[in-house]
Symmetry: C3
Subunit: 361 residues, 3 copies
């Protein structure tokens, strides 16, 4: 069979995909108000089922969602005080994963073999974060969303998801050239009369950034809202490990916006995006809030559909086989950061790696 297959198609980086599994870092599990005291929910992080709960004392806990006894999900059960109780035989566990009760047993409940792996949790910026490696001290802090709570700044929140890897979602979120096609009219338009701008790409050990120099305000709907008066835009696109994207537009001190998304890898090919749009604009905040979400959802809906088609195509062909040009300013660099982090390599660099090129927009 394999010979015939080779004749039909060019060799296919079989099995090669951009899925990355960075376990020694924090991911958002849910928005804080979505987890009420005394309640639990089954979540998934990097393909691992986790029982997330909030004790009646208000603090969150996260345990591997499998009872060590007969392997049913702990989320079959109930929160009892600060502990989680399995729904099958009533075994009970505290936030550290220690077994505290085996109903019917005459001896001691606590026992090395009856522990369940537990994940560190944190609450920050109104989100519940979970550290993806169980039973360890977290190696770092969760990401802090920029400008939250700063004077003159406002914020809009949203949660969406896509059937794609963190890499595919991040590359798409930070990619300029596709906007003229996939989102034709919203951002930019395809035309033969394009302007040439300069792009500077800087890569550090834990982030990569593209700066767009000389770009006039985009002609599409988004540009007109952001800068009704036109002008030149300061525009940065950034990726920060393990899965943060930032798109920053600045026209002046009075007109400044950052769209930050924290990407949570639910599974290899399914990503949840927790997005915060922070803005300071010469427009009433209520008006911006009214308009931003429907536009963002429309743009994201087009991206989501394309990402799903991309993923299906990759699955069908048995792997990715990308050809990049310099226009792919960040994608290949993001993959390099993810691969290095997956292997535990995140040593700080003395200075960023810098690359420059020209682009027609």
């Amino acid at each position: 069979m394999s010979d015939v297959e080779l004749k039909l198609l060019p060799p296919q980086g079989k099995g090669h995909t951009s899925a990355a599994r960075i376990a020694d870092d924090w991911y958002i599990a849910c928005r804080s108000p979505a987890l009420k005291p005394g309640r639990k929910q089954a979540i998934e992080l990097l393909g691992t089922p986790i029982a997330l709960y909030r004790g009646t004392d208000g603090a969150p806990g996260a345990l591997l969602d499998r009872c060590p006894h007969r392997n049913v999900p702990l989320t079959t059960g109930a929160v009892v005080g600060a502990e989680l109780q399995c729904g099958y035989h009533g075994w009970r566990f505290d936030r550290t994963g220690e077994c505290t009760r085996v109903p019917g047993l005459c001896g001691e409940a606590a026992h090395r073999g009856r522990r369940v792996p537990s994940f560190a949790t944190a609450e920050r910026d109104g989100f519940v974060w979970v550290y993806a490696t169980p039973d360890v001290e977290p190696a770092r802090e969760p990401y802090a969303f920029p400008h939250l709570g700063e004077a003159g700044w406002h914020a809009v929140y949203d949660v969406v998801e896509a059937d794609a890897t963190v890499h595919a979602v991040a590359e798409n979120a930070l990619d300029v050239p596709h906007t003229a096609f996939l989102h034709g009219g919203l951002f930019r338009n395809d035309s033969d009369d394009r302007q040439t701008i300069e792009v500077v790409v800087r890569r550090w050990h834990d982030r990569i950034e593209a700066q767009y120099i000389g770009e006039a305000r985009p002609e599409g709907l988004v540009g007109r809202i952001l800068a009704p008066g036109g002008g030149e835009v300061e525009h940065y696109d950034r990726f920060i490990l393990p899965g943060i994207t930032e798109v920053e537009y600045k026209l002046s001190d009075r007109s400044h916006m950052v769209v930050s998304s924290a990407l949570t890898p639910i599974r290899d090919f399914h990503t949840r995006l927790f997005t915060v749009v922070s803005f300071k604009l010469p427009l009433p905040a209520w008006l911006v809030k009214l308009v931003v979400k429907p536009i963002a959802r429309r743009i994201f809906g087009q991206d989501k559909a394309m990402l799903a088609l991309q993923r299906q195509s990759i699955e069908r062909f048995g792997g990715e086989r990308f050809v990049s040009t310099e226009l792919d300013a960040l994608g290949p660099g993001i993959l390099r950061l993810l691969r290095n982090a997956e292997r535990g390599h995140r040593a700080p660099m003395d200075a960023p790696e810098v690359k420059r090129f020209e682009m027609q927009v």
Copy 2:
């Protein structure tokens, strides 16, 4: 990838499950009245498709459900006398699997290569039993349901199924501690004020039994029906190869009940239960019959849902990883019986292995 996976999760007895395939034994295929003369049905036993039919002479037959000619199911066809005829080209087979007709062929129909594997069948206690190894003389007799037809005894029949291994279903059916949680109120209740009873476990070469000594009548609904006057209960839970469970409650010579289930492994993770509730009670039989089935179905519904969650969880984690305590009186012993029988080891023992412990109920 495997390194990253190991960091995320504790090592996972990958692929280890309690699925057992004991082929040299009898399983119930269906209740006798469900197979009418001249009719066939497609069944599955240990993952093997079988064409079960009853000839117009009244006797059942069981053939591998694949025509040797072009591999379509024989159940595509029709029963002709005592034989089964394929629906594609009309090849015909008798109960031994011999080919008796190849329409259009000028030569002889019977031919070594045209045989279809045939399974021994038996009818007993109103059930059609099939021996799971084809083309051999059965090594033993089917199980006999206790007390059927005895004076003063009555019986209720039911057929249910669960997405779980025979082992998981049997352990669940014979497990005491989960009743206070999963079936809270129906049997027993969780409480801090429990009584301590003695449990004696006896294992023979083909069965294992737990005797519960000193147990007061359970407070739940089932206990009150069984023994309205209270008192101490004689209680045995039994597993018999290849997949029989018996739960026996006795209060006196006038109040005695056995719930027997014959578990048929349809596939590794799908089991059908043919249950007979035999009873002699100081209550009108019609009343017991009226009440028993809805209660049993409600209890089994809760078990079935939990077994399905257990199975999904095991599938997700790539295998079972159970931690047992002495309260798991029968589960580990049942698995040992199944594994031994799978390897053909069922030599009688001189005396049973006995184990004793205390339990709080």
Copy 3:
């Protein structure tokens, strides 16, 4: 596991199936009018996704349906003149697969790494044909349907599909014995009072043919339409590489019919049939056209259902395990032709291999 499995079932040519992948030949993609100028459609051929389109100049093109840039299907995009443009970033490709535009790029678009594999196309007999190996000069011509456009001849067209290999569909289409069972009443009937006829089978390097000698007009509905006056039939069944079936009935110069089907392997177990019924009959053409399609659809519906059951059974048992008799006049020979062609062996033979036997119909 494997030991137990072997006990349960006879050894199973595991993985052996009649799926064949002959890439160096032509297959029908669609009927010509179904592909309008300026439109594209996603098709599949031997499991390979292909973007089929017709330029605004009227000529068809066929490219591998995966953009080399980010691997989304090219069918996400649009036809622009004679080229196809990707829907994600707007990359554009001509019919040879050359990249002609990368929007935003300051340099040259054309580049070796940005090519997409392209497939030869042809239009003939009102069908669009695609050659299944990309980027090569076709080794041969597409099949020509017989009698199309000849004086006195008429034609009916149909397109159907089946969940089965090309081999299973071809064998079924050219098999005589099943007609008395699966299509009882339409062609032939099962009876103990059958006539004996002679069958001559001739195999060439690229085709195999069975000639049926001495067959009286079949008694079923189809026979009565074909030859209302009875008589003896000239009957040929033919298979021609890579997947053509012909069933030819001739009673006289005035009564002659050929049912030709070109079988396109969409995937290993899914085949599309492009059928042309060519006929010259002593009946008004409009009447034949009115009657032929419903009858053919009814017969094919029965075959399709049986082929799906066959395929499911083969999947369940992990492979095919056929036992043939001489009545299987063409099936084994067709498989031999397919296997030889798969390995590239199609050297012309000096004379056909001939085989004779008797059959009762």
